[in-house]
Symmetry: C3
Subunit: 114 residues, 3 copies
């Protein structure tokens, strides 16, 4: 059985199946903020989607992070490091990529255990 | 048990295990087409690989899309939106990246439920 | 149950759950080497992480490869092709992306069956 959360015509916010939850790449709503603030917004959206799917950040298995400018790596990490649960950190890969609009400075997608 | 579809010496087209099917990043065969046409070809190849693995696009959980030029986002989406099954949309992340050859304008990889 | 290998305050080297093992994006330790040498180092680290998690390269399902310069595709592949187990090749996607530091020329993340 597949459960979809925040389903839309183009994509769903999260999809749960077979014990795993796959989240769509999350971006900030308020893109006037620099990368630290956008990361904070993105992680809050991830927390909310995980909650809707019945799980939480201690059960994240893997994360993909895209930064529109890799020189903001430390700024993103300062927010990530404060948010990620110690003793329960996921596998992670971070690379630079232009995102859907130039206003987005960070996008994060995760896979969690249901 | 692991089942591999369209196995090659470098990669397999799809790999099935434990209830999931992982597809290799698909690119167009006819790269003379612009991004919309390439997206159509890519989605047709995804349909075919999913069929070989015994599943279909209503069971896609997650999709990664790479565009060689993010300004073609709307062109890719016009084809994606017509193809993706309403009520069964996957989690998705789309970013810009140069692909294996400059002729490729779009690459898509998906994870589906078997 | 979730098992984490080489856990750190920011990420874990590998995370095992529900029959799957997710590896963090691996990069070279000796970045003085060109892309072929860095690929060799990365694949050795992947072998080691898979071994810690109780699996091996014949059970890799999916691989994401990022090259800082896509023109090194053939150099990376020459090392990959010699390493990847024939008959057991994973799904794979390779794109260009700037990595955490300019010294990294290749990063690889994989998902394997436990």
């Amino acid at each position: 059985m597949i459960q979809r959360f925040q389903p839309g015509p183009r994509m769903s916010g999260a999809v749960k199946a077979n014990g795993f939850v796959f989240l769509a790449g999350q971006v900030a709503d308020d893109t006037s903020e620099p990368v630290a603030g956008q990361t904070r917004q993105v992680l809050a959206k991830i927390d909310q989607l995980l909650a809707e799917a019945g799980t939480d950040k201690t059960r994240i298995l893997s994360a993909n992070i895209w930064l529109s400018d890799i020189s903001t790596f430390a700024d993103m990490n300062s927010v990530w490091d404060a948010w990620v649960p110690q003793g329960n950190t996921p596998a992670r890969a971070t690379v630079e990529a232009k995102l859907a609009t130039p206003a987005y400075t960070v996008e994060i997608a995760v896979i969690a255990l249901a």
